[in-house]
Amino acid sequence: MRTYLAEFWEHKDLTLSFAVRDIKARYKQTALGAAWAVLQPFSLMVVFTLVFSSFAQVPSDGVPYPIFSYAGLIFWTFFATAVSQGTAAIVANSNLVRKIYFPRETLLVSIVLAAGLDLAIAGVIFGVMMGYYQIPVPVTVLWVPVLLAVQTLFALAVVCFTSAIHVTLRDIGHGIPLLLQLWMFATPVAYPLSVVPARLLPIYQLNPMTPIIDGYRRVILHGQPPDLPALATATVITLVLLALGYVFFKRAEGTFADVI
């Protein structure tokens, strides 16, 4: 494990190069360019506001529903992009994997980094909305880096498994978009945690994305700290999954070139 990490660290420049490639190539020959990074969460926010707030009267914990859902959506989109693109990352680079050796996890980390840039762009719009709704920025916003760190590691843990399996079993590529859709509704993105029945909460909280998405809203919109016990559980689950996933990934790595 330590040698894996040391080798990965040796290749940090490669990780950055892959991220730069992904970012530069992604919006080449597009008219809207980086606006696409905003369009995905923003259009979902519009739809959610219509469907959940206007039609279904879903509560939003005392903040305007558009900014409530957008806060959840930009961070969920970051996770969903990282997982769906990370899953396909090894196969998408099969010409490299078949011919040249480099630690394959660089491809996964670079995908997450590139998704992080989209998040930053979408975050600018979020800042504009904060100003529009005249919501003051509380000091608890300093929790954001912590939440972001746990979320990033969790996304990496997931793609360690899914990307390695995807090399032999392409069904994963079809299953992941479906899973992400279901997963989003199992996470308080479109609705607040407060509407979840109390008896379901223990199971519901096992989803590491729950305290993370809920946490962002608490620390940015409400000026509260995150739900610390739930966040601690999520962190433990994340770290265990990441360790297992990384070892699994590195074991599988040796035969990627044979079966890809």
């Binding site: 490669l14 530069k24 490299l96 011919k99 040249i100 392409r170 790595e253 990627f256």
Partner: protein
Amino acid sequence: MPDVTVSVDNVSKRYRLHRGWHGSLRTELAAGLRRLVRRERSEEDIYWALKDVSFEMQRGDVVGFIGSNGAGKSTLLKILSRVTAPTSGSFSARGRVGALIEIGAGFHPELTGRDNIYLNGSILGMRRREIEAKLDRIIAFAEIDRFIDTPIKFYSSGMQVKLGFAVAVHVDPEILLIDEVLAVGDASFQTKCLNKLAELKEQDKTIVLVSHNMANIVQHSKKVLWMQAGRVAAYGEPESVVDQYLKSVREQLTSEDPSESVSQAMSDADRPIRIDTVTLCDREGRARQVFATDEAACVEIGYTVQRAVPDPVFEVTVQDGHGHFLGGVTTRFDAVKIDTSREQGRVRLVLHPLLFLKGDYTINVHVRDEYIQRYHDYRKRAAVLIVEGPSIASREISGHVNYPHRWEIL
């Protein structure tokens, strides 16, 4: 003190044929059930590309890998470059391993030449700072300074190869793997490659060279590793290993039954003229297979005329041991008329002097019409001609033919 840089210890590599989830669910389930019932894995879908391979390389070694196609050379390279892991056994490499195997792998067409230098350089193991320091040299080497900020999708394929090569040779690895693919460039590209190789040798790098060109192997290697059916057949001094290898190729060629090479596809009705026998002999007509470079060798063709055709042409072509076409002669070129009035006939081609250098050559014989519209009969690998004499391994001469020549000091 010998300084071991690469050590390969009992490495084996197994591939499964038609395995994994590549088939449909139904065939997979059926195969899985069969394995369960038989409680064993069928051996037929397993293929050992490498079996118990062990050898060592030292600093400053240039090792040529030789062997026929499918002998395991490429798999061994993949293992040394860590693209794939061995099924069993272990290997260690001290220092950065670079591979001149896939020039320009990982180029992104939408990115500029400059961006691709950074991308490809870091894929090949360079740090960003290192690339920055070498950037000007790489651009100069690739001769593309005017287009460096143009997306490489607008580059010609030649420019892309040059850029890929420029990056690859500046990686500066301790251990360098060079595959045959380098031989596909144009002449100036190959010259650049050979000069770079000489430079690296002077720097005491450890180099692996894979080639089918025995002259190149002997010229550049300090040692030769001969792979055969996934195993190391021999490892050692270049000339003797290459000689052993060439001998085994020859034995394989001569052991093939020539009658099998008669075209089975053509029925007698399609064959107005049938080639019955092809024999090698000397001027006196005595059958022989082994000749010296300066001797006379004859190819004697016996044929049967089944149906009269106007002006048939006999053609004899020669291939080297690797199947490369070396040349051919025809009766038409030399204005020799073939008599089709008698049912049986014989024609003899005299090669005097033989000119071919040490090696094994396969002889193909065709008979066709004047306009190359129709083949009346053909015999591939009709005979194997063995030439003894000064070896390519003597490093004095290269190629297949010793032209009539002399040197004049002016």
